[in-house]
Symmetry: C2
Subunit: 410 residues, 2 copies
């Protein structure tokens, strides 16, 4: 290939990435419903259990994720032999942590106002003993029965009364209120509650149901993360499938491997062993307790949120063991590998600089900078749940393989 | 006086200030009710109209404040000759901007859980055309009739159902969500709405009333400022009346003069001409349009909030024309004249450093640093309302006179 061909190709990739990112930025996410996955998730079947990407045989998943899947199947009433596995991100969906989506699981439905496309995530149970951290038991299932029964129904009917809730407006304002929308969603959750209230009133939801729901939301400041993950998926899905584009459109870790997808490279996952996050551990745990990263939430940073805008969320810094200088450094590195600055997601603490949105695979390989993700750290053994918050990155191997595939395709 | 007497006195003042600030910090503010002033404000009478301190004959108040008072009297149905004036802060109350409290005005009732003491502020109408900015007219009065009628009644009954709402918890969390609680109360207002919702449901408030109330709160992110001002008053009132203490316990500006009170100096106001704030003006206005500071809200900074914790509220910086460096500098200067760091009001962006609470009159005189206040800038003419946000300080003359009185008393 001579210099001229090289230049022509570079222009093509640039144009393809501009096209892909324009689609991402045109996305107008709206929370429109909370419905059972079987009704709304593409390709959902009664036996299917969707988990964090990349897809893998059950024996290749980590112990906590296997426990989360087994618990979800038990809650669904599926026999172990009936279960068929799939990656949530291959079904327009997201599965945070060790959580899973089964046919009856109510999911938040986030819809693009302009195109009608949709993305989904299960309702966020909260921390402590919860199925999404791979824990089971009657206490876990009792809360889940309420959340997936009475609470999900009330949320759905309230959203119907309201004609949905604008997610972008909440994300924009939450960035002005100390959230980074991955591991801090406190302001966004309050705003969601505030917006739901008139819908619940109009729908005539019983006072005692409303009281339990508002108490649950106040005790669960991460509730909005379900919407944040679905919003991130909706945004990046918009940029998928652009010929020649090197935009990273999917990323997840299944407790053993981490995988990415790329806009111009079809449905193939490029995988490598997932890193073990490093961070601030809860009392009683040591670094050797930490398991490799697990969950689809790594995608949030690729949509420009989470650690990519860490300067927006000072209350999260000590939980991750970073100070302001390091938060700014993480943001600046995210900007080095991003295709664009988001024109509407801006960070007041950075002089209204836009969130670095859309990771360019080629910039990752050229700079050696992999996206930095803030993440819940899970114990490597099943049933032990969360042990702290930390930072991780998709392994460089994912990006190197994908870059090779780009080279082969050109 | 010899050196030994001097030292003994210094110890006494230090001990008195420690006593006063301990009382301030022990305060546990709770929003318990919304009631007509006549029912709850000490010394309230049908003819009395309470305005921003310091007290003064009507002809010595600024034109916008006179307009606010005239409008409040008109709304109350008082003839001009019937009106008697008083300073809200002399009645356990606060009057922000050019607002006033008349007998029928519903006020937020903020109560100290431990002592049962109370402080009050009228409901915050919002910006735009409003009586609290000295504007009148049928549009202003229509909204006010609803706010002081249906809305106030719903808020009061909801608070009754809830047994009140913890204000300190909201302030603490709002500092983690980008508010400084003077001119940015967006997160606190959302949290208040979120906490009111189950009370409104339990009280059986009609859906259409709830819908209008939630829409009003969403459109009025400064609503919580009424609670913030009453909370500041309750805190500093707790420290008033300690013999020998040089804690500043009251401060306000009536559009012409600014005044302060001091813990150990009884009920006397020390006044001097109010400064004209400087800041960022809305389009169509110039510096010559700005009137001198007006309102009781200057007290918020003396309680450790507002500009004293400006690093907490990056979204407010551009509205005031400051950057991060200047926000930190303002905070550091506030710390130089404060008696204590608040152990619970902490700022994540400053590594959880406590808010500088309780201005020491003697430190102001010694350092030449007057508290910096972020403030709504009013037009100097009546009926023109808000022209921007800016910064101001109580004039050094107030502190110098008070320091002389301290010297005379010792």
């Amino acid at each position: 290939m001579d210099a001229r061909e090289n230049a022509a190709q570079a222009v093509d990739v640039t144009a393809a990435n501009e096209c892909a990112i324009a689609r991402v930025l045109a996305c107008k996410p709206r929370l429109v419903a909370v419905r059972p996955a079987l009704e709304v998730v593409p390709g959902m079947r009664p036996e299917l259990v969707l988990h964090a990407a990349p897809p893998a045989p059950v024996e290749e998943l980590s112990a906590p994720l296997r426990a989360g899947i087994a618990g979800a199947a038990e809650f669904e009433g599926l026999g172990r032999e009936q279960v068929e596995l799939g990656a949530a991100q291959d079904h327009g969906s997201m599965a945070g942590g060790a959580g899973a989506i089964t046919a009856s699981t109510p999911v938040v439905v986030v819809e693009d106002e302009s195109s009608g496309r949709r993305a989904f995530h299960f309702l966020m149970e909260g921390f402590g003993r919860s199925l999404i951290l791979g824990m089971t038991g009657e206490d876990v299932f009792e809360r889940l029965r309420w959340l997936r029964g009475e609470a999900a129904a009330a949320l759905d009917v309230a959203l119907g009364q309201l004609g949905g809730i604008d997610c972008e407006e909440i994300v924009i304002e939450a960035l002005r209120r100390g959230d980074e929308l991955h591991n801090r969603n406190a302001a966004a959750t309050s705003m969601l509650a505030e917006r739901l209230a008139p819908g619940l009133a109009r729908a005539g939801i019983a006072a005692e149901v409303q009281e339990r729901l508002f108490a649950f939301l106040r005790g669960n400041p991460q509730f909005f993360v379900a919407v944040s993950l679905a919003t991130s998926k909706l945004m990046l899905d918009a940029g998928h499938g652009v010929e020649g584009s090197t935009l990273v459109t999917a990323v997840g870790a299944n407790g053993r491997d981490c995988g990415i997808k790329v806009s111009g490279l079809g449905d193939r996952w490029f995988t490598a062993p997932a890193q073990v996050p490093e961070g601030v551990l809860m009392e009683g745990f040591g670094p050797a307790d930490a398991g490799p990263g697990c969950g689809d939430s790594l995608l949030v940073e690729c949509a420009g949120l989470g650690a990519s805008v860490l300067p927006a969320a000072p209350a999260l810094w000590p939980l991750l063991g970073v100070d302001q200088r390091e938060a700014v450094r993480i943001h600046e590195r995210a900007a080095q590998i991003a295709i664009a600055e988001h024109p509407r997601y801006v960070v007041p603490a950075l002089g209204d600089r836009g969130a670095p949105v859309g990771v360019d695979l080629m910039l990752v390989v050229e700079t050696g900078i992999s996206p930095v993700i803030d993440i819940v750290m899970l114990h490597r053994e099943a049933g032990r749940g969360m042990i702290g918050f930390g930072l991780t990155s998709p392994p460089m191997g994912c990006f190197e393989q994908a870059a090779e595939a780009v080279g082969a395709r050109l």
